[in-house]
């Protein structure tokens, strides 16, 4: 039926009509609807996404707490969601003409995040800006630089700067057996963030991180570590799947709130300098 409508429209409107027709074909919703399926897709290119309605979430500046973002970048993120009753997967798609998947001095990576209230009582939601004391939010965060590592980029300076010529690392001295425990220990000593198990520090097996927060500046590792994700580059932007277990208190058929954030690395966005949404209602479909 839809195809016939399209054909008619195309005849009437010509080429522009075809574009409107394709847009018209995309189901949208006025809230995030996590459609119920037997499994949650792991890939943004999975065909299952076609049937999930897109929620176009307008993004606003994080200009409430310092450091603020004062000039807007990404205007909108289109969100789809699928749940299998235990987990929920979000597919975030946004326009970004400049892929940034490296981190370096003054170089920031593209990223996105999904935030859900962590409290069992889904009606009394925390403040949308990173939660509040005693009312935590749970966040799953994806970044392009981690995706690049998961997709095979190495973990050395030469992987970031192919022409770099580091002359010597002490733990690569001939006296230390390659790959042995003493060598590993010595390498760790020159990498305090890794020694301390800082999640930022890698090397990484997943492109996402589970976090929780009770207000700006309080981001910490999340209560569980079972989220996953995958981001791929589209011709004009990013498509990222973030999948996680349902937060405590949110059950199939239930409702809650969800918020999103997008960081445009090219625009120097990092941490609090980001484009974000407020809370958006979300419905978890109950029945298959």
């Amino acid at each position: 039926m839809r195809r016939i409508d399209c054909a008619v429209l195309a005849l009437v409107l010509g080429a522009t009509g075809t574009i409107s027709c394709r847009k018209a074909a995309e189901k949208t919703s006025t809230e995030v609807v996590a459609v119920r399926r037997a499994t949650v897709p792991a890939d943004p290119a999975d065909a299952a996404w076609k049937d999930a309605p897109a929620f176009p979430a307008p993004l606003i500046l994080q200009d409430m707490v310092e450091p603020r973002l004062l000039t807007a970048s990404t205007a909108e993120v289109r969100v789809r969601a699928i749940t299998d009753g235990a987990r929920v997967a979000f597919r975030l798609e946004w326009k970004d003409g400049t892929p940034n998947d490296k981190q370096a001095p003054a170089t920031f990576t593209d990223a996105c995040a999904v935030q859900l209230p962590g409290a069992p009582d889904q009606k009394d939601v925390p403040a949308p800006q990173m939660g509040e004391k005693g009312k935590a939010v749970e966040i799953t965060y994806w970044r392009a630089s981690w995706q690049a590592v998961v997709d095979g980029r190495g973990d050395t300076i030469k992987d970031l700067h192919p022409n770099a010529a580091p002359d010597h690392y002490p733990y690569e001295a001939a006296s230390l057996a390659k790959g042995g425990e003493p060598q590993r220990e010595m390498e760790q000593r020159y990498s305090p963030a890794r020694s301390l198990g800082n999640h930022m520090a890698g090397p990484r097996a997943k492109p996402v991180e589970d976090l929780m927060s009770e207000g700006p500046g309080t981001l910490s590792p999340g209560p569980s570590n079972d989220s996953n994700g995958k981001g791929t580059r589209l011709a004009t932007g990013w498509a990222v799947v973030i999948s996680r277990r349902l937060p405590q208190g949110l059950v199939p058929g239930g409702r809650s709130q969800v918020a999103f954030a997008v960081w445009e690395g090219d625009h120097g966005e990092v941490g609090a300098r980001k484009m974000r949404t407020g809370w958006v209602p979300i419905l978890m479909e109950g029945k298959l």
């Binding site: 310092e66 603020r68 004062l70 001095p105 050395t156 520090a201 890698g202």
Partner: protein
């Protein structure tokens, strides 16, 4: 923003957190006039702390030639331009600090060096302030000038790095005032890199966290001076702890040089961080340039320093620089000898006020050879 007192400015100023001074404050005095830019300090730090992956470009300690040397590129002139011209003729500083001139949405006035800005640590090395025409080099005093400036983190009393971190990942140790980035907590936002005017926090691209000079705290905790101090060939450095001006003790070498004799000056005090590395200004550079770098009182410092040969106490204390790996907590001159004492009061070093000089004849008659002046 809170109101805090900055004695270097002689006035109260705005800061992100209320005043909370440590029990002791790590501090150092560097004698610019003795530095030969051998970079031994740079390498001492590099091999000790920053030989890891992602640290390749980092120099927690660097030595640059002034006026045209910078690491990272243009670190100071860029910020001075951002801040705009300020005047300060002594007395309370009437101008704006970096906290007071923060732009909308920011906690501190700062800027971000690009990766390429770190790629030329020797930029401007040995470049002097003007053209050296034929014959210039023979004229004494030289018509043009340059000097070497060794730089580490200033372990500021009001650190801009700490103020700028939105998640409180940077802390100032209450026991010794050393400023550290918590490597377990940092999330690599690089706000500190942007905010530190001295550009002494560095982003590690492989761990995704920011790292900085730690004042070799494992050594300081044992009463030993940091690596870049003990390895200094020119013996330009003295490490210790500084008191507030009203609590200055003459037997404390840092207090004596900074507060009592006022010959060692903070670097860019007008920024408002109350930095704790103090410099004896270069005696051959124009005072106007040193005034921009070190604030008011440079003329006095130079005059006193020049007069040191006639000033046994000052000459004696300058002779203690770089003389011991133990932190000299107290010093005393007795006649022609100067002693340094550790924190436990035990004498750790004793040096003569004047090194004995031996002049040998140019010709060695026993061997029939001409002596060269190599040591």
């Amino acid at each position: 923003m809170a109101r805090v007192f900055n004695w270097q400015l002689g006035r109260e100023m705005s800061y992100w957190y209320p005043e909370s001074r440590p029990k002791k404050q790590f501090a150092a005095v560097f004698d610019i006039n003795k530095c030969i830019a051998c970079q031994t300090c740079t390498l001492a730090c590099k091999t000790t702390w920053t030989s890891g992956k992602g640290q390749e470009y980092m120099l927690w300690n660097n030595v640059e030639t002034k006026p045209y040397g910078y690491y990272p590129l243009a670190w100071d002139v860029k910020l001075l331009q951002e801040l705009g011209a300020q005047t300060w003729d002594g007395g309370p500083y009437p101008g704006q600090t970096l906290f007071e001139s923060a732009r909308a949405g920011e906690r501190v006035l700062g800027w971000r060096p690009q990766e390429i800005d770190y790629a030329h640590p020797n930029m401007g090395e040995d470049d002097c302030a003007g053209r050296v025409d034929k014959g210039c080099s023979l004229a004494i005093p030289h018509m043009n000038w340059f000097f070497y400036m060794a730089r580490i983190c200033n372990h500021c009393t009001y650190p801009a790095c700490l103020a700028s971190c939105p998640r409180g990942s940077i802390y100032k140790r209450p026991e010794d005032g050393i400023v550290l980035v918590d490597q377990g907590r940092c999330r690599g936002y690089q706000e500190c890199v942007k905010a530190c005017p001295y550009k002494k926090v560095f982003f590690n691209p492989l761990t995704g966290t920011s790292e900085k000079c730690i004042a070799c705290f494992p050594k300081m905790e044992q009463g030993l001076v940091p690596q870049c101090f003990v390895n200094c060939i020119g013996k330009i450095r003295m490490a210790g702890y500084i008191s507030k001006p009203e609590d200055a003790r003459p037997e404390n070498p840092i207090d004596y040089l900074v507060h009592i004799r006022k010959i060692a000056k903070p670097l860019f005090p007008q920024f408002g961080l109350e930095p704790n590395v103090y410099y004896i200004p270069p005696i051959h550079a124009p005072v106007s340039f040193s005034h921009m770098l070190f604030g008011p009182g440079v003329e006095h410092a130079i005059k006193e320093y020049r007069d040191a040969p006639n000033d046994p106490d000052l000459a004696g204390l300058l002779g203690l620089f770089g003389s011991s790996e133990t932190v000299v907590a107290k010093w005393k001159r007795q006649g022609d000898w100067v002693s340094g004492y550790g924190e436990d009061g035990a004498e750790v070093v004793k040096v003569p006020l004047r090194e004995p000089v031996h002049v040998r004849a140019g010709l060695d008659p026993a061997h029939g050879v001409v002596r060269t002046n190599c040591p």
